[in-house]
Symmetry: C2
Subunit: 176 residues, 2 copies
């Protein structure tokens, strides 16, 4: 399962800027086998972990994986979005970029208190985005049952920053 997905990932040098080796997951998504195996890995991994009540995905590639996963598991889906995109009352969490700041928002009524949430994104890099998303889920009253990623860039040590999720409940299919 892992090798099928890994073989479909395309490395694009110097995107979005010089020096970055971007992991392009679109060939995985386009492949019926690749996409199905990827979603199967997420579903099997979460099923063997904590009980999960709902899936949260981070805009935009986390929407693709998270929504497919929620559908497969028969769960609901929470979109965590860039600022200004969600129309109802929102919570907001800022995070540091290399230069400056960015933020994520989630609807304040997205989780019921005590709900067990699995946080999904395509890549765990520095952990800034993932930690902001986890903070929103926590502040809304949700419990971070798990965080799962298609790719983890181990050298950036993002899982150390993601301290609202127990380390053994942070899962990645592929490590680079």
């Amino acid at each position: 399962m892992e090798q099928t997905v890994r073989d479909l990932i395309r490395t694009i040098p110097d995107f979005p800027k010089p020096g970055i080796q971007f992991k392009d997951i679109t060939p995985v998504l386009q492949s019926p086998q690749g996409f199905a195996k990827m979603i199967e890995w997420f579903a099997l991994t979460l099923a063997s972990a904590e009980k999960v009540d709902i899936i949260a995905g981070v805009e935009s590639r986390g929407f693709i994986i998270g929504a497919a996963l929620a559908s497969k598991m028969g769960l609901g889906f929470i979109p965590i979005r860039k600022p200004g995109k969600l129309p109802f009352e929102t919570l907001r969490a800022e995070y540091e970029l290399e230069y400056g700041k960015d933020a994520l928002e989630m609807h304040a009524d997205a989780v019921e208190p005590g709900m067990k949430v699995a946080l999904i994104d395509d890549v765990l890099a520095t952990g800034g985005t993932a930690n902001a998303a986890a903070t929103l889920i926590h502040e809304a009253g949700g419990v971070l049952a798990a965080a799962a990623f298609l790719i983890e860039l181990d050298f950036l040590k993002g899982r150390e920053k993601l301290n609202l999720v127990a380390d053994h409940h942070i899962y990645s299919l592929l490590h680079f």
Copy 2:
């Protein structure tokens, strides 16, 4: 099926600007029943229409619906994105906004020639976005087998602009 989903849609007045009655679909997504019934409608509708080889979804809410649908149907998924987000060689289509222009991009290798593509988004409004997405699929060599939307705002006559898809292959679960 239709009523369950319709009852979960929340109208937000004056978002993103005064005078617009925004249809907030996040309560549908959050509900396991609502989300499952919505995806079931898309899957049943497409299964009863033309043969479909792959699903294309428009950033960002079209990713949520389109990816869940592709997973359910065992198909691959093509993301159609805002400019600058896709790392490989892209095709680009511009479309008119009320003031100015915007554009969408798709990877040039996203479809094989002759592939039957179903275009998915949450809302069919003026048809500008949908027609730009359809143009990209057409230019890449794909065949527009169907276009399906959760919501169609009938008074904006978007389906008239979407002329790369036969009118009887444009489907919407809810009409407002």
